[in-house]
């Protein structure tokens, strides 16, 4: 490919010949020779004139980039092996060999000959040398201080010089409003408002543009705009991507990106934190200024954004290897502009990167503590809590309150010890102590005498509903209830119970049958009394299982299974405790005070492997947080209205609003632990006895302790609730011992070969050696100021954000086959100054946006265009099509309906049809299978927040060239297609905005029509319409009015749709006409450009 543009003059200050090498020789070698004469084909063998060991990537291999004299003799083509071979007439000798391509053209030969004759000056490959070194090789005279303070000493001076050298006259400058539009879209993703335009046009001070740029960079919209592009590179999505493509919660990482840009996180930190934030320690900057970007561990979500698989029958290690390879790909592409992937299977065909080097780089990312198959239930491990700033504050507050109660308890400890001794003495003296845990919300004892009396409330107990026909038996310790499978008792709870905050349920039962039976059930109801959730404990005497199941409507949502030996006609005292003393807030079951063993999920898997897993959807494991927010208002004992209950005898049911201690559970189960302990002398008690007794006294006897502990329980529940509300994100966390990394033959997970240790990439003389063999060592290597790629890649990317194309035409490839930058010195200088500025992203963007090139129009001499069709010179600024997010956001912003709020859970905006349904897998088993459009605010958020399903990305964004977010993508197309036109005309989110905009203009009847048309036009195009355009607008409005008057059905149809009902008078012809005008103006080709 012709990198060379038509102007061949050497850059000033260059050693003569170097320019020719860079512009002609090196690309020629890359295109015509490198396919064979490369690392991959020739390898590392010693050079010799056997014709096989010439390395096209090493021709300029001397320390200062001199040519290898074995192949080229400077000044003497005929003595140069390369020259002899390319000019040979012997088909066996000629290069390239006839089967690999045609001979070099006469022009090419002439240039090559002249270059050798003039001394064959070469230099190290530009992107393998640090920008500092590259600039240092220039003679001092080439430095170019600018005398003109208004001109950027790098961008303006160097670009203008290049234009001059190329004989390309730059286009004329854009109008001020076009510039403001371009700057505003570039930096915030939204157009300027009319007020902003007016203020800017009225401001004739010298620094008006500087101040406008500062205002835009300070806007929180800046972070959203920048994040949108980084999400493509970082392959961010809200689903796992492979196979069932279920959801993940990774949006906190997306919010990290937004805050990182808004806080102007230095770029070296941006890189380091995303690669190794978990290893990097505390944030050195003040948290407040950083927002979410203070969470360095969260930053490593970048490494976990890859797709994740859990397809049944797949090989875990195969996919784990893919995840690591994806990290290598994303890091090398997005941060280093290097195409490493080739070297996974074989040495890189063009760039000097061996497979061994590939796997040395791979090794950094190979130790993350992850599963190959994971993610079927949301996030894949490792994940970490990622609280928002508000949540962090609230949690600290609640933890403080808890600590305060603990302090009071501690202060009073002496009183409690004394009080306990007094109580013990007195109770032993009385001799008839029965331990019963106090504080039950409901207690059902059936000691009332008759069934009628059960139906009446009495102190401490609500009235009971009796279903079926149970028998009340007189028992040794009061009454018992004999029930058949169709009988039960139930009652309303005095207040809704949030079980997730801790609870216990006890009950005594005697089974008289082996049938599956419900023992008890909690029921929740919505405001209208319709049942919502139910939590049910079911016995399976035959299979010896006890099952706790959460139902939502008729559908089972989650379960827990325990093993229990049932005995008939014997009292079984069962208890279930929610959120015991354990930190992890378990749900446990007890029989006779002893904990039952959970049936582990592996065993369930084993059972289901027999058949086919997908036919027997595995129910989720019930965890306490799933019960959060469900207010259970009803409790039934011995079955529920819809489920048959136990056949047998019931007694002593109690519901507690707190997790009981083990001693209390024992007591509730009729155990004697407390009374036994009490009987033992204080000194002779075992440790557990001492503890249980102390606990008992405080929980059940001492009124002050009891009250304080109750408050402590509440405070602890608040902390637990606050913790549980904290979203998680997938992050990087390494295994305690690094996983050994082998070279994988042909990249295959099951073909390990040589063991390798981690090493960053070498570039020319730049060493990939690391200070420590982990990701932090890697990150520190990458952000070294003299790294040949990191700063250049960043500068190029920021340039591309502003101009739509980078200084490098092949941003994914800064290697030998990529296109070298035309404005190379500008790139190098900006890179060095970027590093020297402390990697200040906003400062660099500020420079670029204030440069002359950014202010140019595309209105210039056509001669320049034909000489430089790809605009590599940046001597003009072709209008850019709005990027995808801008397309979606703009109508809402102009109409004033955009809901601006930074961050948060991804939202479900409007999507046409049921786009997911035709593709999705099994909605009963996996999340993100059915699209449910959101309501209210969700329909009006910025497009960046739209839930991203990889199998079926948001349709409008897809139509406008957004990456699919499956792999790292650096460049978006700017295609213009008919499907896009349909979207901007008919997408209901856009129509809703056009309608809103049109109606408010129509309603301003006191304003002259022309004013309103001008305002509409300006809000779409940022410029004032010409007289001819005003006339056209007026004509079209009249035409719409006329058409609508003739066809009233169209008034209705035009204003139909939309997400909110129109205010009165709802559907007037005037409003319809203006809504059509809004549609028209917003769809002008010019309105979709900036």
């Amino acid at each position: 490919m012709a990198v060379g543009v038509g102007w061949g003059g050497s850059a000033r200050g260059d050693v003569p010949g170097a320019t020719e090498y860079r512009r002609f020789v090196q690309p020629l070698l890359a295109e015509r020779c490198l396919g064979c004469h490369s690392q991959a084909v020739v390898g590392e063998q010693e050079a010799g004139v056997d014709g096989q060991s010439f390395r096209a990537d090493r021709l300029a291999a001397g320390p200062a980039g001199e040519v290898d004299r074995q192949w080229i003799t400077p000044g003497d083509p005929d003595a140069s092996e390369v020259w002899r071979r390319v000019t040979s007439t012997d088909a066996d000798l000629r290069m390239p060999p006839p089967e690999h391509g045609s001979a070099l053209s006469a022009d090419e030969l002439a240039r090559l000959q002249r270059w050798i004759e003039e001394g064959a000056v070469a230099e190290p490959f530009w992107a393998d040398e640090s920008p500092q070194a590259s600039l240092a090789r220039k003679p001092a005279s080439a430095k170019h201080p600018s005398s003109d303070a208004a001109r950027d000493p790098v961008i303006d001076v160097l670009l203008e010089r290049a234009w001059k050298d190329a004989g390309a006259a730059p286009a004329k400058e854009s109008s001020p409003e076009a510039w403001l539009r371009r700057a505003t879209f570039t930096l915030t993703g939204l157009p300027p408002t009319i007020e902003e335009l007016d203020r800017f046009l009225a401001d004739d001070s010298a620094d008006a543009r500087e101040r406008a740029v500062d205002r835009l960079l300070a806007s929180p919209r800046f972070g959203e705009r920048m994040a949108a592009l980084w999400l493509d590179a970082a392959r961010y999505a809200d689903t796992h991507g492979y196979h069932a493509d279920a959801h993940r919660d990774q949006w906190r990482w997306r919010d990290w990106v937004i805050d990182a840009f808004n806080a102007n996180l230095p770029y070296d930190r941006f890189v380091l934190d995303q690669i190794a934030g978990d290893l990097a320690g505390e944030a050195p900057m003040k948290e407040d200024a950083l927002g979410d970007a203070a969470d360095r561990r969260l930053a490593t979500g970048f490494l976990r954004n890859h797709m994740i698989n859990f397809e049944n029958g797949a090989f875990a290690e195969e996919y784990r290897a893919e995840y690591v390879a994806d990290r290598v790909h994303a890091v090398s592409q997005a941060l280093l502009g290097t195409t490493l992937s080739c070297a996974r299977c074989h040495d890189h065909p063009y760039d000097p990167i061996t497979t061994e080097q590939y796997f040395q780089f791979f090794a950094f990312f190979n130790s993350i503590d992850e599963q190959g198959l994971d993610g079927d239930r949301g996030n894949a491990a490792p994940a970490a809590p990622a609280p928002t700033r508000e949540q962090r504050g609230r949690l600290a507050e609640l933890e403080g309150a808890l600590a305060e109660i603990d302090r009071v308890l501690q202060d009073r400890e002496d009183d409690f010890v004394q009080g306990q001794r007094v109580w013990e003495r007195r109770t032993r003296a009385e001799g008839s102590f029965v331990a019963t845990p106090t504080g039950a919300i409901v207690r059902l004892t059936f000691d009332d005498g008759t069934l009628e009396e059960l139906g009446q409330a009495k102190p401490g107990r609500p009235p009971l509903d009796v279903l079926g026909s149970p028998l009340l038996l007189p028992g040794a310790e009061g009454g018992e209830l004999l029930v058949d499978g169709k009988s039960h008792v139930a009652c309303a709870l005095p207040r809704p119970l949030d079980i997730s905050e801790g609870a216990s349920v006890c009950g005594a039962l005697q089974f008289t049958s082996d049938e599956e039976a419900t023992l008890w059930e909690f029921g929740g109801a919505d405001a209208s009394g319709s049942p919502t959730h139910r939590l049910r404990l079911v016995a399976f005497p035959r299979t010896q299982r006890l099952r706790l199941v959460l139902l939502e409507g008729a559908e089972e949502r989650a379960e827990l299974l325990w093993k229990l030996s049932f005995e008939r006609n014997v009292w079984t005292r069962l208890a279930v405790r929610f959120g015991g003393s354990d930190e992890d807030a378990a749900i446990e079951a007890f029989a006779g005070g002893r904990a039952l063993s959970l049936i582990p999920s592996e065993e369930k898997d084993e059972a289901s492997k027999e058949g086919v897993q997908q036919a027997q959807p595995k129910l989720a494991t019930l965890e306490l947080p799933q019960l959060r927010g469900i207010g259970f208002s009803r409790f039934s004992f011995g079955g529920a209205e819809e489920a048959s209950g136990v056949a047998g005898i019931l007694d002593d049911a109690a519901v507690f609003g707190r997790p009981l201690t083990l001693a209390e559970l024992d007591a509730a189960a009729g155990g004697n632990a407390i009374t036994d302990a009490l009987a033992v002398d204080e000194a002779a008690r075992t440790e557990p006895q001492t503890r249980s007794l102390a606990d008992w006294y405080r929980r059940n006897v001492d009124p002050i302790a009891r009250d304080l502990l109750k408050r402590r329980d509440e405070a602890a529940a608040d902390v637990a609730a606050a913790n549980a509300a904290i979203p998680h994100a997938m992050v990087a966390r390494d295994l305690p011992q690094p996983r050994p990394t082998h070279v994988l033959l042909r990249g295959r997970y099951d073909s390990p070969a040589k063991l390798v240790s981690p090493r960053s990439l070498d570039f020319g003389s730049f060493s990939g050696e690391v200070s420590r063999p982990d990701r932090l060592g890697l990150a520190e290597n990458l952000i070294r100021p003299d790294h040949p790629r990191t700063a250049r890649v960043a500068v190029d990317r920021l340039w591309r954000i502003c101009f739509g194309q980078g200084l490098i035409a092949t941003p994914e490839d800064f290697g030998l086959r990529g296109q070298p930058p035309l404005h190379r010195e500008a790139l190098d200088r900006l890179s060095v100054e970027f590093v020297e500025s402390g990697w200040d992203v906003k400062a660099l963007l500020r420079r670029i946006v204030l440069s002359r090139a950014f202010a140019l129009s595309d209105d210039g001499p056509p001669a320049t265009w034909s000489a430089d069709p790809d605009n590599r010179l940046f001597a003009r600024f072709p209008a850019r099509r709005l990027e995808a997010e801008m397309v979606v956001d703009r109508p809402r912003f102009v109409a004033g309906t955009l809901q601006e709020r930074i961050g948060g859970r991804s939202v479900f905006g409007f999507e046409p049809g049921d786009r997911w349904k035709d593709l999705s897998y099994s909605p009963g088993d996996f999340t993100a299978q059915i699209y449910r459009s959101g309501v209210g605010e969700d329909l009006y958020r910025r497009a960046l927040y739209t839930f991203w399903k990889r199998a079926s990305p948001p349709v409008t964004l897809s139509l406008f060239d957004v990456s699919q977010r499956e792999t790292c993508q650096l460049v978006r197309g700017e295609q213009r297609t008919a499907l896009q036109a349909l979207a901007t005309l008919n997408d209901p989110t856009a129509l809703d905005a056009y309608r809103s905009l049109g109606c408010s203009l129509a309603d301003e009847q006191s304003r002259p029509e022309e004013d309103r048309l001008v305002e509409l036009f300006r809000s779409a195009t940022s410029r004032s319409p010409s007289t001819a355009e005003v006339a056209a607008l007026t004509r079209e409005l009249a035409s719409f009015c006329e058409a609508l008057a003739a066809n009233p059905a169209d008034v209705e149809a035009t204003l139909a749709g939309g997400f909110e009902p129109l205010p009165e008078p709802a559907r007037t012809a005037e409003r319809a006409a203006w809504s059509l005008m809004a549609t028209l103006v917003m769809n002008l080709p010019e309105a979709s450009e900036y």
């Binding site: 790809d870 850019r880 049921d914 699919q964 297609t977 005309l985 719409f1040």
Partner: protein, 475 residues
Amino acid sequence: MNPTQGRRSFLQAGGIALGSLAFAQLSGNPVQADAAGSNLTYPPLPNLPHFRPKAKRVIYLFQSGGPSQIDLFDPKPELVRRNGQEIPAAAIAGQRLTTMTAEQSAKPIVGSPWKFERCGKSGLEISELLPHLRRVADDICLVRSLQTEAINHDPGITLMQTGHQQPGRPSMGSWVTYGLGSEAENLPAFLVLVSGGKPGDQPLYQRLWSSAFLPSRYDGLRFQSTGDPAPYLSRPGGVSRELEARLHAGIASVAAANEDAATLDDLAPYELAFKMQASIPDLVDFADESEETLALYGDDVREPGSYAGQCLLARRAIERGVRFVQLYHRGWDHHKNLPARLPEKCELTDRASAALVTDLKRRGLLDETMVVWAGEFGRTAYCQGELTKDDFARDHHPRCFSAWIAGGGFKSGFTYGQTDDFSCSVTENPVHVHDLQATMLHALGVDHLKLLYRREGRDYRLTDVGGRVIEDLLA
């Protein structure tokens, strides 16, 4: 259009002028093809086709999930004889088995309970489950020796459709339309139709019809089975066509008032959009099909999203010049209850697949239209789970599976490739997925080694680093 080329170059290339704007006709009459502009929508690459094509268009009937070759196309009497016996270790030695059955203690052989018969003049053997296909046996080319590398659905289907197991590569339809463009006027070049799709059927992904790094206009357009076929095709609320035309004309007229007349070329997408609002509803409306044709495809042809309906839609699309129609039918993943579920799938698809071949042939379109029927892999000779008297199932099997191709320059009434007695391995004439892709491209006049796109310094192609044209398959 390359945005950096500037607007004027587009105009010079023959872009539209205001006068040609068909939507300026306010009459609302059916849109007439506009010779000036529409053919430029999807032009071929300058050097393509590389040689004289046999086929011009493709209808790819993708049977997602992995249909059982043993019960449909690859008769194995030996399996029937050994029904219930443990599969010989040698037959599956060295093969990767999925984790669903690798550890299964017994792997009893299941012979197909369905009869095979030699059909037509060619004597091509087809199972009784496909009675309609049997009638067009002489029109199809049956490949019994397809091989893939993937053993799971996601990588398997991704390899079949993009030439690579992992995401990130352009789909076959995108490569073909990128290279050859499209002759369709006012329609997308690459159309995607989905049928089947009940809970539990293997999922599909946009990446299967994505253009990936090729320009996004070569993305397949997936028609939705409910609502507008193409997204946003009609305006919600349904304004009159006349008002719609007035809106389009208004956009053009206000744009024309801009002194920078060069912006007019940007109206081309609007013009095409307006035309598509007529051409797409016309495409999906079967009103002009004869009762006899409808009957040929089967009773459910009128059901939106049915396989039969999609087959007929595919024919209508290629008649209008659409280059590539990718159809997916889901639900061939029979890990359990195969004796009930496989016949059910055949019932849903057999008639229409055969009808499509018949219909194309009688219209003289089959010669230039390649109809391909394939899934992502085959199924095991041994039973997954318990083998009982009337129930069995089969796991994924990548080492050999069957596909057929009709028309488009492929041989007809021809069987290619052989497998061993257990349908476990290919014994003769293996056809790798990349070979099938290379051969399909070859029939379209494309050298798979020359249809390239450079990215990351590398020249990418559909067949990755493999693929050879199987000349034997071509007539």
